[in-house]
Symmetry: C2
Subunit: 444 residues, 2 copies
């Protein structure tokens, strides 16, 4: 893309002078309405089931979901490919890596973005039909969202591992964790994740690279329900141990929370609010409220960050995963000031730097979330609702916190850092929305 600033300025002017929606006469009205839906969203965890139980697209085909905007098997980077091998073996579709590779190379496997089926997935985002998924219900709006369960640390499929231990863990999640959690959640009448997130944000979580407080609160809220429904001491103990040892357990709930939230907002088809940010390891893709399902993509960046001992930026896979849905709703890098603990992990030198960063995010955001208030900002709310026109105009890109995968399959996480989307996603989106509004105006 080689947009001149003048062209962009005209596109933004065009967007601002058109009536974006019959109910919302101005861009500001439309954006406010979209963000109000984000703010009013209240996702509850209501069940834990097999992916195929809630995602009808799995029926009758060999379908695998992946993170980010659409891409082919041939384009996938190694962390996602490794996870695909694991998923094919877990589903019993392939006996070993060689067979899995042959099937994928032969085009026997279909791929769809998680985002197309009300789902999101971390890192590779690889989701197959009999994996366990959380079911979230956004109660004020009635829409649902799904995400797999966090596998813990170390050798995990989301970073491209596909050894027998990884597949065995998936089976345990399907056969023990899913039914126990599902029964507890149903007995509780659902778990209000908004309340948990508000409490945990005040404890330094930002729900992308830090979820340790929310995970503990989730366990606190669910424990009495689990002991009520599960009378097998070994199973119950294994579930408690797993959650207790998984500080990022809440991440996948936070991601499904984000998906349930943006999908409610996306029901208003107007405005320049960023309603999706996701990466597939090759492309970073965004979508706007006004342009609906259309993706605007650019080559992903590789995170700058803090590498685990023995690794360097050379080893890092380009940025990957749907977890940027957290930034899309004002968490993660957008809420950096809320989380001094994350600053350490992703390489931000001081709380003062983090506060400046979140202040910059406020300049490209529509509102502040009244329920997600930040102690280190003297209880101001997190900025929420990124306005693509402001990103382009101010040349301020959203701040993203991210885990860094090794670029080879099966090598896992090698660090954490910060990264920005490529600017061209936003310039393309602004031009496309301006053009769309112009065409609509001509037809009217």
């Amino acid at each position: 893309m080689t947009d001149s600033r003048a062209d962009l300025g005209r596109a933004i002017e065009d967007i601002r002078r058109h009536v974006p929606h019959r109910t919302y006469p101005t861009l500001a009205d439309a954006n406010a309405a979209v963000v109000q839906r984000m703010i009013e969203s209240e996702p509850w965890l209501v069940d834990v089931v097999l992916a195929q139980d809630v995602i009808p697209q799995f029926a009758g085909r060999k379908l695998i979901l992946h993170a980010g905007p659409p891409l082919d098997w041939s384009e996938m980077t190694n962390p996602a490919r490794g996870a695909v091998f694991g998923a094919l073996m877990y589903e019993g579709w392939a006996e070993d890596e060689a067979a899995a590779r042959r099937q994928a190379d032969a085009g026997d496997i279909e791929f769809l973005p998680c985002h197309d089926v009300n789902a999101v997935g971390p890192m590779g985002g690889i989701t197959s039909p009999t994996m366990a998924v959380f079911v979230l219900e956004n109660r004020p709006f009635g829409n649902r969202a799904y995400c797999t369960i966090n596998e813990g640390t170390g050798r995990v499929m989301r970073f491209g591992y596909y050894g027998p231990d990884v597949i065995e863990r998936q089976r345990w999640m399907r056969d023990t964790l899913r039914p126990v959690l599902g029964a507890g959640v149903r007995a509780a009448g659902g778990i209000n994740l908004k309340r948990i997130a508000a409490e945990a944000l005040a404890m330094g979580d930002e729900f992308h690279q830090r979820n340790v407080a929310a995970s503990a609160i989730f366990l606190r809220e669910l424990a009495p329900w689990l002991s009520r429904v599960c009378h097998d001491a070994d199973q119950l103990t294994s579930v408690f141990s797993f959650i207790a040892q998984t500080p990022q357990f809440f991440l996948n709930l936070a991601m499904a929370y984000g998906k349930a939230t943006v999908d409610a907002a996306r029901q208003i088809r107007a405005g320049s609010v960023v309603t999706t940010m996701a990466r597939n390891g090759v492309q970073f893709g965004i979508r706007l409220s006004g342009t609906g399902d259309r993706w605007f993509t650019g080559p992903v960046n590789t995170a700058r960050g803090v590498y685990f001992s023995g690794f360097t930026a050379e080893d890092g896979n380009p940025d990957i995963g749907d977890s940027t849905v957290t930034e899309t709703i004002g968490w993660g890098g957008i809420a950096q000031a809320a989380s001094p603990g994350v600053c350490k992990i992703v390489g931000v030198p001081s709380l003062a730097d983090a506060i400046r960063s979140t202040e910059a995010m406020r300049t490209i955001s529509i509102a502040e979330h009244p329920d997600f208030v930040v102690p280190t900002l003297d209880w101001r709310g997190v900025p929420i609702g990124i306005d693509a026109t402001r990103v382009v105009e101010l040349e301020v890109l959203p701040m993203i916190h991210t885990g860094i995968a090794h670029k080879e399959p099966g090598r896992g996480q090698i660090g954490s850092g910060t990264v920005h989307p490529p600017m061209q996603c936003f310039t393309q989106a602004v031009h496309a929305y301006a053009a769309q509004l112009g065409e609509l105006a001509l037809r009217a």
Copy 2:
């Protein structure tokens, strides 16, 4: 007390020029050694038992423990008196309030400070022989400390309630909570409370008026052990529910942590480090490392703070409870900057004010705790080890966070706030330590 500044200056000079201990040739050496013991302390929760199982002083007498420095029944304020009525009924020593009052008025009940028997107690601190208590072991030093279990919110004995519901809860704590927690803790081989506290401090707890993160982490750590040892679903569920609904659950563990810590430090009989701060509703008492078991007291202040709707400072009981043991080891008001959540509750307007307050506390403290680091201070440690000579010299009093009890019995908590010890505790202590060192020098 009407100490002239000149007299005080001479006393401080005397303290500084004497050799305080044969192992520690200077005051700075002695103070550093005392505080080093505080820093190296590592209290583990190792059991939950009846008070009489671990406190031999209960044997063969009608003894009740209370908070703060020694006082008689006739001096006790109403929150403590109400709790005494409850305790006498709970123990079966009195049938009703009238009988309890008669016994206490007749001198049939003996009273001792918790601090005299390796224990601490919140608010009234009323502890009777068959109440359930936590047993902490300070592993590097081998000493133990005890504290009752937090009763939750609302109508609770520590604020002077003594109705049948309060007594029934004590029975449940004795008959269900104690054995379940005790078995879980023993199966776990003890729970390292230092690790939990370090994690929770970074989540905004200061362990006096805010313990919500530590309570959730405690539950997270213990849950797999509880499900392993308790196979009665109703009991297990009641224990999980109770802890989940008690955001101050960890307070009593933090207090016992503080007691185990100061008692290890008190084994070095030298220096001007404050090793006890406690209030009985009438007197605020402190003790110094160099003066051992001797109390230095002054009339307690009443907290300035945020009152629950319908109450004013008029209704507040003077400051009461052993919970200032948290400030004595660098938590609570000393660590105000760590806890923006507490600032709201106790009436501190902004995080900047809290940071200034903790910086002031650094000027009267010996060291910074390397393991208790504060995200909002860019990971500097909490100030630890209050030096009575600096308090007097700089005229900077320790900051204390406190709950406010209604002054009538059985009315409960009516607010939270900040309070200072009376200066005269410190001036008395400094004069007494100077005199003691002078006498020793004369005899040498």
